[in-house]
Amino acid sequence: MSLLKHHTDMTRGDKYLLLLLLSVSFSLMFVLYGNTTIFHSKSRSTQAVVTVNGDIIRKINMPTNSRYSFAIEGSSGSFRVELDGEKIKVSEAHCAGQVCLNQGWISRAGQSIICIPEKIVIRLEGRTMLDAITQ
Protein backbone atom coordinates (compact mmCIF):
# COMPACT_ATOMS: atom_id res chain seq x y z
CA MET A 1 0.00 0.00 0.00
CA SER A 2 2.80 2.37 0.74
CA LEU A 3 4.31 1.50 -2.67
CA LEU A 4 1.16 2.64 -4.41
CA LYS A 5 1.26 5.96 -2.60
CA HIS A 6 4.84 6.70 -3.77
CA HIS A 7 3.92 5.76 -7.31
CA THR A 8 1.25 8.45 -7.64
CA ASP A 9 3.35 11.27 -6.16
CA MET A 10 5.61 12.77 -8.84
CA THR A 11 8.36 15.05 -7.67
CA ARG A 12 9.27 18.21 -9.57
CA GLY A 13 12.41 16.45 -10.74
CA ASP A 14 10.30 13.66 -12.20
CA LYS A 15 8.19 16.14 -14.12
CA TYR A 16 11.23 17.87 -15.60
CA LEU A 17 12.65 14.50 -16.58
CA LEU A 18 9.40 13.50 -18.25
CA LEU A 19 9.25 16.72 -20.24
CA LEU A 20 12.89 16.39 -21.19
CA LEU A 21 12.35 12.85 -22.44
CA LEU A 22 9.29 13.88 -24.42
CA SER A 23 11.20 16.75 -26.02
CA VAL A 24 14.13 14.55 -26.94
CA SER A 25 11.83 11.93 -28.46
CA PHE A 26 10.00 14.56 -30.43
CA SER A 27 13.24 16.03 -31.82
CA LEU A 28 14.60 12.61 -32.64
CA MET A 29 11.58 12.05 -34.82
CA PHE A 30 12.72 14.90 -37.03
CA VAL A 31 16.26 13.59 -37.14
CA LEU A 32 15.31 10.05 -38.04
CA TYR A 33 12.44 10.72 -40.39
CA GLY A 34 13.35 14.19 -41.60
CA ASN A 35 15.19 12.83 -44.58
CA THR A 36 12.42 10.65 -45.80
CA THR A 37 8.72 10.51 -46.33
CA ILE A 38 7.47 13.20 -43.96
CA PHE A 39 9.09 16.05 -45.82
CA HIS A 40 9.21 14.63 -49.33
CA SER A 41 6.00 15.13 -51.17
CA LYS A 42 6.55 12.34 -53.69
CA SER A 43 3.34 10.46 -54.27
CA ARG A 44 3.34 6.71 -54.48
CA SER A 45 1.72 6.46 -57.91
CA THR A 46 3.36 6.85 -61.30
CA GLN A 47 2.89 9.90 -63.49
CA ALA A 48 3.72 10.38 -67.14
CA VAL A 49 5.20 13.85 -67.54
CA VAL A 50 5.48 15.26 -71.07
CA THR A 51 7.78 18.24 -71.58
CA VAL A 52 8.57 20.22 -74.69
CA ASN A 53 11.77 22.24 -74.47
CA GLY A 54 11.70 21.96 -70.69
CA ASP A 55 8.06 23.13 -70.28
CA ILE A 56 5.61 20.62 -68.87
CA ILE A 57 2.66 20.34 -71.23
CA ARG A 58 0.89 17.24 -69.88
CA LYS A 59 0.88 15.23 -66.68
CA ILE A 60 -1.06 11.99 -66.76
CA ASN A 61 -1.66 9.70 -63.81
CA MET A 62 -0.79 6.13 -64.66
CA PRO A 63 -2.18 3.59 -65.12
CA THR A 64 -4.90 5.00 -67.41
CA ASN A 65 -8.36 3.43 -67.57
CA SER A 66 -8.45 3.09 -71.32
CA ARG A 67 -6.29 3.25 -74.41
CA TYR A 68 -6.11 6.70 -75.94
CA SER A 69 -3.74 9.08 -77.65
CA PHE A 70 -3.06 12.77 -78.05
CA ALA A 71 -1.02 14.87 -80.47
CA ILE A 72 1.74 17.39 -79.98
CA GLU A 73 2.58 19.80 -82.77
CA GLY A 74 6.31 19.78 -83.38
CA SER A 75 8.37 21.72 -85.88
CA SER A 76 8.61 18.70 -88.18
CA GLY A 77 4.93 17.78 -87.94
CA SER A 78 2.50 16.03 -85.65
CA PHE A 79 3.86 13.86 -82.88
CA ARG A 80 1.42 11.35 -81.41
CA VAL A 81 1.63 9.90 -77.91
CA GLU A 82 -0.35 6.78 -77.08
CA LEU A 83 -1.28 5.49 -73.60
CA ASP A 84 -2.66 2.12 -72.61
CA GLY A 85 -2.93 1.26 -68.91
CA GLU A 86 0.59 1.30 -67.52
CA LYS A 87 2.24 1.80 -70.91
CA ILE A 88 3.01 4.87 -72.97
CA LYS A 89 4.74 5.28 -76.32
CA VAL A 90 5.21 7.49 -79.35
CA SER A 91 3.01 6.17 -82.15
CA GLU A 92 3.71 8.80 -84.78
CA ALA A 93 6.69 11.06 -85.42
CA HIS A 94 8.17 12.89 -88.37
CA CYS A 95 11.63 13.77 -87.11
CA ALA A 96 14.90 12.57 -88.62
CA GLY A 97 16.12 9.23 -87.26
CA GLN A 98 12.79 8.35 -85.62
CA VAL A 99 14.65 7.09 -82.56
CA CYS A 100 11.63 7.83 -80.39
CA LEU A 101 9.49 5.44 -82.43
CA ASN A 102 12.12 2.68 -82.13
CA GLN A 103 11.87 2.88 -78.36
CA GLY A 104 8.34 1.43 -78.27
CA TRP A 105 6.34 1.19 -75.04
CA ILE A 106 7.74 2.22 -71.68
CA SER A 107 5.97 1.27 -68.48
CA ARG A 108 8.24 1.68 -65.47
CA ALA A 109 9.04 4.72 -63.38
CA GLY A 110 12.42 6.13 -64.35
CA GLN A 111 12.06 5.26 -68.03
CA SER A 112 11.77 7.95 -70.65
CA ILE A 113 11.28 8.45 -74.40
CA ILE A 114 13.15 11.35 -75.93
CA CYS A 115 12.83 13.12 -79.26
CA ILE A 116 15.98 15.20 -79.52
CA PRO A 117 15.19 17.27 -82.62
CA GLU A 118 11.80 18.28 -81.20
CA LYS A 119 13.08 18.52 -77.60
CA ILE A 120 10.19 16.37 -76.40
CA VAL A 121 10.66 14.22 -73.30
CA ILE A 122 8.11 11.71 -72.02
CA ARG A 123 9.19 10.56 -68.61
CA LEU A 124 7.53 8.19 -66.15
CA GLU A 125 8.02 9.54 -62.67
CA GLY A 126 7.50 7.64 -59.46
CA ARG A 127 9.29 5.29 -57.15
CA THR A 128 12.03 3.45 -58.97
CA MET A 129 14.01 0.30 -58.40
CA LEU A 130 16.97 1.62 -60.33
CA ASP A 131 18.67 5.01 -60.14
CA ALA A 132 19.60 5.01 -63.82
CA ILE A 133 20.08 2.81 -66.86
CA THR A 134 23.26 2.82 -68.85
CA GLN A 135 22.52 2.47 -72.57
Binding site: S23, S27, T134
Partner: protein, 356 residues
Protein backbone atom coordinates in the same frame (compact mmCIF):
# COMPACT_ATOMS: atom_id res chain seq x y z
CA UNK B 1 4.87 22.47 -4.95
CA UNK B 2 3.41 25.67 -6.42
CA UNK B 3 1.55 25.29 -9.70
CA UNK B 4 3.03 28.33 -11.39
CA UNK B 5 6.45 26.81 -11.26
CA UNK B 6 5.61 24.21 -13.89
CA UNK B 7 4.83 26.70 -16.66
CA UNK B 8 8.34 28.05 -17.14
CA UNK B 9 10.05 24.67 -17.52
CA UNK B 10 7.29 23.47 -19.87
CA UNK B 11 7.65 26.53 -22.10
CA UNK B 12 11.43 26.14 -22.03
CA UNK B 13 11.35 22.49 -23.04
CA UNK B 14 8.76 23.02 -25.75
CA UNK B 15 10.79 25.92 -27.19
CA UNK B 16 13.93 23.84 -27.22
CA UNK B 17 12.05 21.04 -28.95
CA UNK B 18 10.69 23.35 -31.60
CA UNK B 19 14.08 24.94 -32.20
CA UNK B 20 15.72 21.53 -32.49
CA UNK B 21 12.96 20.38 -34.85
CA UNK B 22 13.37 23.48 -37.02
CA UNK B 23 17.15 23.10 -37.19
CA UNK B 24 16.86 19.48 -38.24
CA UNK B 25 14.09 20.29 -40.70
CA UNK B 26 16.02 23.05 -42.43
CA UNK B 27 19.10 20.85 -42.68
CA UNK B 28 17.23 17.95 -44.21
CA UNK B 29 18.58 16.52 -47.40
CA UNK B 30 16.95 17.82 -50.53
CA UNK B 31 17.07 16.55 -54.05
CA UNK B 32 17.48 18.79 -57.05
CA UNK B 33 17.42 17.63 -60.66
CA UNK B 34 17.61 19.39 -63.95
CA UNK B 35 17.63 18.37 -67.64
CA UNK B 36 19.24 20.01 -70.65
CA UNK B 37 19.44 19.10 -74.31
CA UNK B 38 23.12 19.16 -75.20
CA UNK B 39 25.51 17.29 -77.51
CA UNK B 40 22.63 15.78 -79.45
CA UNK B 41 21.13 14.12 -76.37
CA UNK B 42 19.36 14.71 -73.06
CA UNK B 43 21.62 15.35 -70.07
CA UNK B 44 20.12 14.93 -66.57
CA UNK B 45 21.89 15.96 -63.40
CA UNK B 46 20.60 14.96 -59.96
CA UNK B 47 22.23 16.23 -56.77
CA UNK B 48 21.55 15.89 -53.04
CA UNK B 49 22.40 18.39 -50.31
CA UNK B 50 20.89 20.56 -47.61
CA UNK B 51 20.99 23.98 -49.25
CA UNK B 52 18.56 24.36 -52.17
CA UNK B 53 20.17 27.50 -53.56
CA UNK B 54 23.62 25.95 -53.42
CA UNK B 55 22.33 22.86 -55.25
CA UNK B 56 20.83 24.96 -58.05
CA UNK B 57 24.01 26.98 -58.46
CA UNK B 58 26.21 23.89 -58.44
CA UNK B 59 24.14 22.30 -61.19
CA UNK B 60 24.13 25.52 -63.24
CA UNK B 61 27.94 25.65 -63.04
CA UNK B 62 28.17 22.02 -64.04
CA UNK B 63 26.02 22.66 -67.11
CA UNK B 64 28.16 25.68 -68.01
CA UNK B 65 31.17 23.42 -68.06
CA UNK B 66 29.38 20.91 -70.26
CA UNK B 67 28.28 23.69 -72.62
CA UNK B 68 31.85 24.90 -72.89
CA UNK B 69 33.19 21.46 -73.83
CA UNK B 70 30.27 20.94 -76.23
CA UNK B 71 31.10 24.21 -78.04
CA UNK B 72 34.77 23.33 -78.40
CA UNK B 73 34.13 19.86 -79.76
CA UNK B 74 31.08 20.28 -81.99
CA UNK B 75 32.04 19.68 -85.62
CA UNK B 76 28.57 20.44 -87.03
CA UNK B 77 28.22 24.26 -86.98
CA UNK B 78 28.18 25.94 -90.37
CA UNK B 79 30.99 28.25 -91.38
CA UNK B 80 30.40 31.89 -90.50
CA UNK B 81 28.24 31.19 -87.45
CA UNK B 82 29.38 32.17 -83.92
CA UNK B 83 29.23 28.45 -82.96
CA UNK B 84 31.69 27.71 -85.75
CA UNK B 85 34.14 30.31 -84.46
CA UNK B 86 33.95 28.86 -80.94
CA UNK B 87 34.52 25.31 -82.07
CA UNK B 88 38.08 24.01 -82.04
CA UNK B 89 36.86 20.94 -83.93
CA UNK B 90 35.51 23.08 -86.78
CA UNK B 91 38.72 25.10 -87.04
CA UNK B 92 40.90 21.99 -87.02
CA UNK B 93 38.73 20.41 -89.72
CA UNK B 94 38.77 23.55 -91.82
CA UNK B 95 42.55 23.78 -91.65
CA UNK B 96 43.12 20.12 -92.56
CA UNK B 97 46.10 19.84 -94.86
CA UNK B 98 46.74 23.56 -94.43
CA UNK B 99 48.06 24.58 -91.01
CA UNK B 100 48.14 23.68 -87.28
CA UNK B 101 45.49 25.31 -85.11
CA UNK B 102 45.97 26.59 -81.57
CA UNK B 103 43.38 24.94 -79.33
CA UNK B 104 41.90 25.16 -75.83
CA UNK B 105 43.61 23.18 -73.03
CA UNK B 106 40.64 20.84 -72.76
CA UNK B 107 40.53 20.24 -76.51
CA UNK B 108 44.21 19.34 -76.40
CA UNK B 109 43.64 16.90 -73.53
CA UNK B 110 40.78 15.27 -75.43
CA UNK B 111 42.87 14.88 -78.58
CA UNK B 112 45.88 13.60 -76.67
CA UNK B 113 43.76 10.96 -74.96
CA UNK B 114 42.08 10.01 -78.23
CA UNK B 115 45.39 9.61 -80.02
CA UNK B 116 46.82 7.51 -77.19
CA UNK B 117 43.94 5.02 -77.29
CA UNK B 118 44.00 4.97 -81.04
CA UNK B 119 47.59 3.73 -80.88
CA UNK B 120 46.86 1.33 -78.02
CA UNK B 121 44.01 -0.26 -79.94
CA UNK B 122 45.90 -0.27 -83.25
CA UNK B 123 43.22 1.79 -84.91
CA UNK B 124 40.06 0.18 -83.46
CA UNK B 125 39.36 3.59 -81.96
CA UNK B 126 39.95 6.66 -84.09
CA UNK B 127 38.64 10.22 -83.89
CA UNK B 128 39.58 10.97 -87.50
CA UNK B 129 36.57 8.91 -88.70
CA UNK B 130 34.72 12.08 -89.75
CA UNK B 131 34.74 11.29 -93.51
CA UNK B 132 33.43 7.76 -92.87
CA UNK B 133 30.66 8.92 -90.55
CA UNK B 134 29.58 11.55 -93.09
CA UNK B 135 29.39 8.84 -95.73
CA UNK B 136 27.08 6.57 -93.75
CA UNK B 137 24.85 9.47 -92.77
CA UNK B 138 23.66 8.30 -89.34
CA UNK B 139 21.73 11.02 -87.56
CA UNK B 140 20.46 12.38 -90.85
CA UNK B 141 17.25 11.53 -92.70
CA UNK B 142 18.83 9.09 -95.08
CA UNK B 143 21.41 6.73 -93.62
CA UNK B 144 22.41 4.22 -96.30
CA UNK B 145 25.08 1.68 -97.24
CA UNK B 146 27.83 3.54 -99.12
CA UNK B 147 29.49 2.00 -102.17
CA UNK B 148 32.74 0.03 -101.58
CA UNK B 149 34.63 2.61 -103.65
CA UNK B 150 33.45 5.54 -101.54
CA UNK B 151 34.31 3.64 -98.37
CA UNK B 152 37.80 2.91 -99.67
CA UNK B 153 38.21 6.56 -100.54
CA UNK B 154 37.05 7.71 -97.09
CA UNK B 155 39.32 5.18 -95.39
CA UNK B 156 42.39 6.80 -96.94
CA UNK B 157 41.56 9.89 -94.84
CA UNK B 158 41.13 7.96 -91.57
CA UNK B 159 44.30 7.64 -89.49
CA UNK B 160 45.11 9.16 -86.12
CA UNK B 161 48.77 8.99 -87.04
CA UNK B 162 47.99 11.93 -89.32
CA UNK B 163 46.59 13.93 -86.38
CA UNK B 164 49.68 15.89 -85.34
CA UNK B 165 49.71 17.34 -81.83
CA UNK B 166 52.26 19.85 -80.54
CA UNK B 167 52.31 20.09 -76.75
CA UNK B 168 54.55 23.17 -76.64
CA UNK B 169 52.44 25.25 -79.00
CA UNK B 170 49.21 23.50 -77.98
CA UNK B 171 48.27 22.97 -81.61
CA UNK B 172 46.45 20.28 -83.52
CA UNK B 173 46.88 19.57 -87.19
CA UNK B 174 45.17 17.15 -89.58
CA UNK B 175 47.92 16.44 -92.08
CA UNK B 176 45.82 15.72 -95.19
CA UNK B 177 43.13 17.78 -96.89
CA UNK B 178 39.71 16.20 -96.49
CA UNK B 179 40.53 14.73 -93.09
CA UNK B 180 37.90 15.35 -90.45
CA UNK B 181 37.57 14.92 -86.71
CA UNK B 182 34.49 13.32 -85.14
CA UNK B 183 34.73 13.61 -81.37
CA UNK B 184 31.36 11.94 -80.75
CA UNK B 185 32.94 8.97 -78.97
CA UNK B 186 34.81 11.03 -76.37
CA UNK B 187 33.39 14.55 -76.02
CA UNK B 188 30.30 13.58 -74.03
CA UNK B 189 32.35 11.53 -71.57
CA UNK B 190 34.89 14.31 -71.15
CA UNK B 191 32.16 16.90 -70.62
CA UNK B 192 30.51 14.64 -68.04
CA UNK B 193 33.76 14.25 -66.13
CA UNK B 194 34.28 18.02 -66.12
CA UNK B 195 30.73 18.43 -64.83
CA UNK B 196 31.30 16.04 -61.93
CA UNK B 197 34.54 17.78 -61.02
CA UNK B 198 32.63 21.07 -61.09
CA UNK B 199 29.97 19.65 -58.75
CA UNK B 200 32.71 18.43 -56.41
CA UNK B 201 34.31 21.87 -56.42
CA UNK B 202 30.90 23.32 -55.51
CA UNK B 203 30.84 21.12 -52.42
CA UNK B 204 28.45 18.45 -53.69
CA UNK B 205 29.14 14.94 -52.42
CA UNK B 206 26.17 13.00 -53.83
CA UNK B 207 25.30 13.28 -57.50
CA UNK B 208 24.29 11.33 -60.58
CA UNK B 209 24.74 12.52 -64.14
CA UNK B 210 22.95 10.72 -66.95
CA UNK B 211 24.30 12.04 -70.23
CA UNK B 212 22.22 10.20 -72.81
CA UNK B 213 22.88 6.87 -71.11
CA UNK B 214 26.46 7.66 -70.03
CA UNK B 215 26.23 7.40 -66.24
CA UNK B 216 28.63 9.08 -63.82
CA UNK B 217 28.00 8.96 -60.08
CA UNK B 218 29.59 10.91 -57.25
CA UNK B 219 29.55 9.41 -53.77
CA UNK B 220 26.50 7.38 -52.79
CA UNK B 221 22.83 8.11 -53.11
CA UNK B 222 20.41 9.72 -50.67
CA UNK B 223 20.13 6.74 -48.34
CA UNK B 224 23.87 6.19 -48.11
CA UNK B 225 23.74 3.15 -50.37
CA UNK B 226 25.50 2.71 -53.68
CA UNK B 227 23.65 3.84 -56.78
CA UNK B 228 21.74 1.06 -58.54
CA UNK B 229 22.47 1.20 -62.24
CA UNK B 230 20.88 -1.13 -64.77
CA UNK B 231 22.41 -2.19 -68.09
CA UNK B 232 19.78 -1.99 -70.79
CA UNK B 233 18.83 -5.21 -72.51
CA UNK B 234 20.00 -4.78 -76.12
CA UNK B 235 17.07 -6.68 -77.59
CA UNK B 236 14.18 -6.41 -75.16
CA UNK B 237 12.22 -3.20 -74.61
CA UNK B 238 11.75 -2.08 -70.99
CA UNK B 239 14.24 -4.58 -69.67
CA UNK B 240 17.66 -4.59 -68.08
CA UNK B 241 20.08 -7.45 -68.49
CA UNK B 242 22.16 -6.75 -65.36
CA UNK B 243 22.32 -4.48 -62.31
CA UNK B 244 25.41 -2.82 -60.89
CA UNK B 245 26.02 -1.00 -57.62
CA UNK B 246 28.23 2.00 -58.16
CA UNK B 247 29.86 4.81 -56.25
CA UNK B 248 32.35 7.37 -57.56
CA UNK B 249 32.50 5.81 -61.00
CA UNK B 250 31.21 5.80 -64.55
CA UNK B 251 29.24 3.32 -66.64
CA UNK B 252 29.21 3.98 -70.37
CA UNK B 253 27.57 1.69 -72.90
CA UNK B 254 28.01 1.29 -76.64
CA UNK B 255 25.31 -0.69 -78.38
CA UNK B 256 24.00 -1.66 -81.79
CA UNK B 257 20.40 -0.93 -80.85
CA UNK B 258 20.18 2.83 -80.71
CA UNK B 259 21.11 4.27 -84.09
CA UNK B 260 20.73 1.77 -86.87
CA UNK B 261 18.90 0.89 -90.05
CA UNK B 262 18.15 -2.45 -91.64
CA UNK B 263 18.63 -3.63 -95.19
CA UNK B 264 17.56 -7.13 -96.26
CA UNK B 265 17.23 -8.18 -92.63
CA UNK B 266 20.77 -7.15 -91.76
CA UNK B 267 21.38 -4.47 -89.15
CA UNK B 268 23.73 -1.57 -89.88
CA UNK B 269 24.50 0.39 -86.73
CA UNK B 270 26.48 3.60 -86.18
CA UNK B 271 29.64 2.25 -84.52
CA UNK B 272 31.85 2.04 -87.59
CA UNK B 273 35.11 0.11 -87.42
CA UNK B 274 37.70 2.71 -88.51
CA UNK B 275 39.79 -0.02 -90.11
CA UNK B 276 37.17 -1.66 -92.34
CA UNK B 277 34.79 1.23 -92.87
CA UNK B 278 31.81 -0.97 -91.93
CA UNK B 279 29.82 -1.31 -88.68
CA UNK B 280 31.78 -3.30 -86.11
CA UNK B 281 30.44 -6.84 -86.10
CA UNK B 282 30.75 -8.97 -83.01
CA UNK B 283 28.99 -7.34 -80.07
CA UNK B 284 25.46 -6.26 -79.24
CA UNK B 285 26.29 -4.18 -76.20
CA UNK B 286 29.46 -3.24 -74.32
CA UNK B 287 29.53 -1.44 -70.95
CA UNK B 288 32.76 -0.02 -69.59
CA UNK B 289 33.12 0.75 -65.89
CA UNK B 290 35.87 3.01 -64.59
CA UNK B 291 36.15 6.17 -62.52
CA UNK B 292 36.83 8.70 -65.29
CA UNK B 293 33.86 9.31 -67.57
CA UNK B 294 36.04 10.33 -70.53
CA UNK B 295 37.98 7.08 -70.35
CA UNK B 296 34.75 5.10 -70.00
CA UNK B 297 33.43 6.77 -73.16
CA UNK B 298 36.58 6.08 -75.20
CA UNK B 299 36.92 2.48 -74.02
CA UNK B 300 33.26 1.70 -74.54
CA UNK B 301 33.53 2.43 -78.26
CA UNK B 302 36.98 0.88 -78.49
CA UNK B 303 35.91 -2.38 -76.81
CA UNK B 304 32.78 -2.55 -78.93
CA UNK B 305 34.87 -2.60 -82.10
CA UNK B 306 37.29 -5.25 -80.85
CA UNK B 307 36.44 -8.98 -80.88
CA UNK B 308 34.88 -9.80 -77.48
CA UNK B 309 37.72 -11.96 -76.14
CA UNK B 310 40.27 -9.30 -77.04
CA UNK B 311 38.15 -6.60 -75.41
CA UNK B 312 37.88 -8.51 -72.13
CA UNK B 313 41.60 -9.28 -72.17
CA UNK B 314 42.49 -5.65 -72.76
CA UNK B 315 40.16 -4.54 -69.96
CA UNK B 316 41.74 -7.04 -67.56
CA UNK B 317 45.11 -5.46 -68.35
CA UNK B 318 43.96 -1.91 -67.69
CA UNK B 319 44.00 -0.66 -64.10
CA UNK B 320 40.64 0.20 -62.59
CA UNK B 321 38.67 -0.79 -65.68
CA UNK B 322 35.85 -3.32 -65.81
CA UNK B 323 33.88 -4.54 -68.76
CA UNK B 324 30.53 -6.23 -69.36
CA UNK B 325 29.43 -7.24 -72.82
CA UNK B 326 26.99 -9.38 -74.75
CA UNK B 327 28.25 -10.82 -78.02
CA UNK B 328 26.09 -11.03 -81.14
CA UNK B 329 25.80 -14.74 -80.37
CA UNK B 330 24.01 -13.74 -77.13
CA UNK B 331 26.83 -14.67 -74.81
CA UNK B 332 27.55 -12.60 -71.69
CA UNK B 333 31.22 -11.98 -70.89
CA UNK B 334 32.82 -9.75 -68.30
CA UNK B 335 36.05 -9.02 -66.45
CA UNK B 336 36.92 -11.21 -63.46
CA UNK B 337 36.56 -8.50 -60.86
CA UNK B 338 32.87 -8.06 -61.69
CA UNK B 339 32.18 -11.60 -60.52
CA UNK B 340 29.86 -11.34 -57.54
CA UNK B 341 29.52 -7.59 -58.04
CA UNK B 342 27.19 -7.71 -60.98
CA UNK B 343 23.67 -9.02 -60.67
CA UNK B 344 22.47 -10.97 -63.69
CA UNK B 345 18.99 -12.43 -63.12
CA UNK B 346 19.05 -16.22 -63.27
CA UNK B 347 16.17 -16.24 -65.78
CA UNK B 348 18.21 -14.21 -68.26
CA UNK B 349 17.64 -15.04 -71.93
CA UNK B 350 21.36 -14.67 -72.63
CA UNK B 351 24.02 -17.34 -72.19
CA UNK B 352 25.88 -16.71 -68.97
CA UNK B 353 28.45 -19.03 -67.47
CA UNK B 354 28.66 -17.88 -63.84
CA UNK B 355 31.81 -19.84 -63.17
CA UNK B 356 34.04 -17.87 -65.51
Amino acid sequence: MRRGNIVLPVVLFLSLTLIAAYVFYSNRTREYSSDRFLMDTLISIKVYGSDSEALKEAVASAYSEMHRIASLTDAFPKIGTPEYRESDACRINQQAGVAPVVVDKDTFKILKMAKHYSELSEGAFDVTVGPLMDLWGFGGKNPHIPSPESIKSALSLVNSRDLILNEQERTAFLAKRGMKLDLGAIAKGYATEKAIQSLKASGISKALIDAGGNIRVLGRNLHGTQWRIGIKDPRKQNAVVAILQLEDSSAVTSGDYYRFFEVDGKRYHHIIDPRSGYPAGENMTVTTLTADAALADVLSTLFFVLPPEKAVQMAENLDGVDLFLITDKRRIMHTQSLKGKIDVPSETSYRYDQRR
